[in-house]
């Protein structure tokens, strides 16, 4: 057990050092904000990896919980006047609970049905936000969300939120690593491999799936709350179905069953989106903003077909296979 944890601790220490040093050398607010965003997406992707890679359940509506966290924080701290730190905590907890409760009927479904149902959830959430404008600000968004304040300290600069977000993201990463390396993680992998076999071994598959889904929803709620308090303005387009699919892309790039991969996946997608947008607007003056979805869509196809373990693990394996074979198709992981 300890031998498995140790290299990860080294990796974590190195990551902490690099992340802590960045704001000392980088003073560009946009860069810092981008890195904060990567931290938030890491939070989201870790949860999605647990759901998709470990529990083996499709979720195409994860942005629902991200949005729920953001809107709850906005409502609680702005409309209801709750202290912003309490709103943050409450939003994460409520979102986690909602995820758990929604999971009860939804996890009776499998495969494409579950995928459609989670997508449907996201559509309904966005419709609610758009239609209940008096509460949510409607399509134009919710403005003037109070910044996070805790014990007399106000987190209102990019660097402060950057540190806070990454401390939380790395904490969640560690927690999730512990989960997947524990009895729960083994149970989840068993469910993924064969639900029937897992159940005959006495694993209550549904209970595990629900707990993981609730946990992932809680992570997403936390990310949403932090997002709302970072940019202090939210609108429905930040949480729609395309965002959910982008989250799946992040998880797929990092490897669906890889907790560490989440950081890599989140960073790749965020930076790639930036680069593609620049590149596209150069190529085609006034090109519409969503153009990067072409690349993400193709990337999803390629990754799922050729390297379902993710880009890093899959890349290594693909090279090895290519060298070693010339017979039979290699069946992918199931």
């Amino acid at each position: 057990m300890t031998t498995r944890i140790r290299p990860e601790l080294f990796l974590m220490a190195a990551l902490v050092l690099v992340l802590a040093a960045i704001p000392v050398f980088v003073h560009n607010n946009y860069r810092i904000f981008t890195l904060t965003l990567i931290g938030l997406f890491t939070l989201l992707t870790v949860g999605l990896s647990l759901v998709m890679g470990y529990a083996g359940q499709v979720s195409l509506g994860h942005a629902t919980f991200y949005g729920m966290g953001a809107y709850l924080t906005a409502l609680l701290s702005s409309s209801l006047g709750m202290p912003s730190w309490a709103a943050l905590v409450a939003s994460a907890l409520i979102t986690g609970l909602v995820g758990f409760v929604i999971g009860i009927p939804i996890f009776r479904l499998r495969g494409p049905y579950l995928a459609m149902a989670t997508l449907g959830l996201n559509v309904i959430f966005i419709l609610l936000v758009k239609n209940e404008g008096q509460i949510t600000g409607g399509p134009s968004g919710f403005t003037n969300i109070p910044p996070l304040a805790f014990a007399g300290r106000i987190f209102d600069t990019d660097a402060e939120m950057y540190y806070l977000v990454w401390v939380i993201a790395l904490g969640v990463l560690l927690l999730s690593l512990n989960i997947v390396n524990s009895r729960v993680g083994r149970a989840l992998r068993a469910i993924h491999a064969s639900e029937v076999a897992a159940e005959t071994l006495g694993i209550d598959a549904n209970a595990y799936k629900l707990k993981i889904f609730g946990l992932a929803a809680g992570y997403a709620g936390l990310a949403g709350a932090l997002y709302a308090q970072t940019i202090r303005f939210i609108s429905p387009s930040s949480f729609d179905v395309l965002v959910s699919i982008e989250l799946v892309t992040m998880a797929a790039i990092g490897g669906l069953a890889s907790i560490w991969g989440s950081i890599f996946g989140a960073a790749t997608v965020v930076y790639m989106a930036d680069i593609i947008r620049d590149w596209m607007s150069e190529l085609l003056a006034g090109a519409p903003g969503e153009g990067e979805i072409i690349v993400f869509g193709l990337l999803l196809v390629v990754i799922m077909v050729f390297m379902p373990e993710g880009v890093t693990a899959g890349g290594v394996k693909a090279v090895r296979n290519w060298q070693a074979r010339r017979h039979e198709h290699v069946p992918s992981r199931t």
């Binding site: 998709m52 083996g56 359940q57 499709v58 195409l60 009927p105 009776r108 479904l109 499998r110 495969g111 494409p112 049905y113 995928a115 459609m116 149902a117 997508l119 449907g120 959830l121 559509v123 309904i124 419709l127 609610l128 758009k130 239609n131 179905v241 395309l242 699919i245 799946v248 892309t249 797929a252 669906l256 596209m280 085609l284 003056a285 006034g286 090109a287 519409p288 969503e290 153009g291 990067e292 979805i293 072409i294 690349v295 993400f296 869509g297 193709l298 990337l299 999803l300 196809v301 799922m304 077909v305 050729f306 379902p308 198709h329 069946p331 992918s332 992981r333 199931t334």
Partner: protein
């Protein structure tokens, strides 16, 4: 308008809209029966078909004005171009996305078709932009009135073409060699292979057929609604719900499911709240999925349900 006239109006527009869901659901069923895959990019065929038809039928400028096109071909030719273009896309999708992933897990296959869906959506966005487009009505004449409801000529085209497509499909599956081979590959792939049927090619045919159905639906509805690049996903979702309502594997069930869904949606939007139009679809989905997994039309054997992953 009296309440009963209004009700008739909702039903007529619901059936019109539902015809499109029916065509897309038929595509879902065809692909599912032959390959066992739920193709989430089904709705994109409708969008691509419609945009291609518009491009050859009207003056448009693509890529933000970089590529003006002024072919102004006659309508039948435009429909043909739209359908053939979608077929090509469907076949490419099968060959390069679906076929290589045929041994992958259900989860991977779902993600592949979702990826294909947003890639196609992005391509349409890049070429045609965010503007809504519209085709001219197929025949210009005064709308008809029935029980106080207004029925546009285009609605008649929509319903008529859906009917023709369903009947045509029936004869295709029942009486042609290719149709029989398709049915054989769906009933028992191993036995079909033993009979010398190339099941892999049947997958290709299924995708081509589904793309054609979707494109036809997209083209025929475009005079009634504005087509935008982002309609595909919602059309996929609705076609899928219609398919489930029809009992997953049954083409006729899918058609009935589509018409029913369109009507329910139109009634709910008219009588309850139009802002939540799309949400009603999912209420229907949840009800059907959670209450009766076999679909509203017909019961499924446990084997069929198992194949469907339920």
């Amino acid at each position: 308008m009296t309440p009963s006239e209004q009700l008739a109006q909702y039903i007529v527009s619901g059936i019109t809209q539902g015809s499109i869901y029916a065509l897309i659901a038929l595509g879902f069923v065809t692909i599912f029966n032959v390959t066992g895959i739920i193709n989430f990019s089904q709705g994109e065929f409708a969008v691509i078909g419609a945009f291609l038809a518009i491009t050859v039928a009207q003056k448009v400028s693509l890529f933000r004005g970089q590529l003006p096109v002024a072919l102004e071909w006659p309508l039948p030719l435009a429909i043909l171009v739209g359908v053939l273009g979608a077929i090509l896309v469907g076949m490419l999708l099968y060959r390069f996305g679906i076929q290589p992933a045929r041994h992958a897990s259900v989860l991977s296959q779902i993600v592949v078709t979702i990826g294909a869906s947003i890639a196609l959506r992005g391509m349409v966005l890049l070429a045609w932009g965010t503007d809504p487009y519209r085709l001219a009505p197929f025949t210009a004449a005064k709308p008809l009135r029935l029980f106080g409801a207004v029925i546009t000529r285009q609605s008649l085209w929509v319903m008529g073409l859906t009917f023709v497509a369903v009947v045509g499909l029936y004869f295709f599956f029942r009486f042609t060699m290719l149709g029989k081979a398709l049915r054989a590959s769906s009933a028992n792939p191993d036995a079909a292979r033993l009979m010398g049927i190339n099941t892999r090619r049947m997958g290709l045919v299924a995708f081509a057929l589904s793309a054609a159905l979707g494109a036809l639906g997209g083209i025929v509805i475009t005079p009634s609604i504005f087509m935008t690049y982002d309609r595909g996903l919602m059309l996929s979702l609705k076609g899928f719900v219609a398919m489930i309502m029809g009992g997953l594997t049954d083409p006729f069930g899918a058609v009935i499911g589509g018409l029913l869904l369109g009507t329910v949606e139109s009634l709910a939007a008219g009588l309850i709240s139009s802002g939540y139009r799309d949400a009603f679809t999912f209420v229907v989905l949840f009800l059907v999925l959670l209450l009766r997994l076999g679909g509203l039309v017909g019961r499924k054997t446990s084997q069929e349900l198992e194949r469907a992953g339920l």
